[in-house]
């Protein structure tokens, strides 16, 4: 079991470094196990240095930098055992427009290189514009959810109406 954890640590770390550099367009990061002897009980630390900054533990980063770093970690783990579906609920909430775009670019890459289907819950108009299709959910009758399948041109119109509303 110790060997399997060590192996999975090394593979995930390698995926993580690669994904972090893509999402941050530079910079460096790594996962560290704080106990090299007893890794089954070790703590997992994340050290990151966004481009131009000094290495810091994840708690010193900004809200958006933390979120982007953890997205890299989650996808790094996912890639080790890809499932038929990957579902992300509003992970883009704290990201600025540049980082939302990088997040969507990364989803595009992952989607093109695998059979995984992605379900992305979002409020962000830019993320919506990068989806292949949208499921719009509303409560036509108060308290009861209904689903409308929306093609992308219709979505753009819907989003603009929301902004104007």
């Amino acid at each position: 079991a110790r060997e399997r954890l060590q192996q999975s640590y090394e593979k995930v770390n390698s995926n993580f470094k690669h994904l972090f550099e893509k999402l941050f367009d530079g910079g460096k990061a790594e996962l560290k196990l704080d106990d090299n002897e007893d890794i089954l009980n070790a703590g997992l630390d994340i050290v990151a240095w966004p481009p131009g900054k000094k290495p810091q533990t994840i708690s010193l980063l900004s809200g958006g930098e933390q979120a982007l770093t953890v997205i890299a970690l989650i996808l790094a783990v996912f890639l080790e055992n890809p499932a038929p579906v990957c579902i992300l609920d509003e992970v883009d909430a704290p990201l600025d427009d540049t980082n939302v775009k990088k997040f969507c670019d990364t989803l595009d890459d992952l989607s093109k290189n695998s059979n995984t289907k992605f379900l992305i819950v979002t409020h962000h108009p830019y993320t919506m514009s990068r989806m292949d299709r949208l499921f719009g959910i509303t409560m036509a009758k108060k308290g009861e959810s209904i689903m409308l399948s929306v093609d992308l041109n219709q979505a753009e119109k819907m989003v603009n109406e929301e902004i104007v509303a």
């Binding site: 999975s8 989650i74 038929p84 609920d89 379900l119 919506m128 499921f135 409560m139 308290g143 959810s145």
Partner: protein, 168 residues
């Protein structure tokens, strides 16, 4: 193995039968606050065998059953099904359709959940194993719930290590 469809009936705010056909690539789920987006993700987690109502934002498992509104009475049962299909790629690179599996979970008020695979009743454990064989499950990294990113940031390093165990 592919996930093809999700069907909800009476699950949380989805009083009426609702089907989501899941196609290739990136599918967005959008709508106003409180309309039911996270409820759809809860339904997947639930049908995959979630045993703790706390992980579904409830105070008991019956909380996943549509509880009524000002104008609609509550229901007495909830059902969620997922359709998975095994596709074989033939030697000429064309896809041969393979086996289809419909995994269903049904709960009736005050009497607990039943599980079915292709209409045959199964134990919860069989369903959990089926999904685990496909790298899925109620606590798999493939479902990232609202607020989970913050939870990972704030977790103690020993808690965080468990994410790696998921990959092992």
């Amino acid at each position: 193995m592919e996930l093809k469809k999700i069907k909800l009936h009476g699950f949380k705010s989805f009083e009426k039968q609702t089907e989501f056909e899941i196609n290739k690539g990136l599918t967005g789920i959008v709508g106003p606050n409180g309309c039911g987006k996270s409820n759809v993700l809860d339904s997947l987690q639930w049908v995959m065998g979630e045993t703790s109502y706390k992980n579904l934002r409830g105070s008991e498992m019956d909380d996943v059953i549509f509880s009524g509104t000002d104008t609609s009475p509550s229901r007495n049962f909830a059902e969620v099904s997922v359709i998975m299909s095994e596709t074989t790629i033939t030697s000429d690179e064309s896809k041969a359709s393979g086996d289809e599996y419909e995994i269903k979970r049904r709960i009736e008020r005050n009497s607990g959940s039943k599980y079915y695979i292709n209409s045959i009743e199964k134990r919860a454990k069989d369903v959990q194993l089926f999904f685990a064989d496909n790298s899925l499950g109620p606590h798999s990294i493939s479902i990232v719930k609202q607020g989970q990113i913050n939870q990972i940031i704030e977790s103690k390093p020993n808690e965080r290590r468990k994410i790696l165990e998921e990959a092992a």
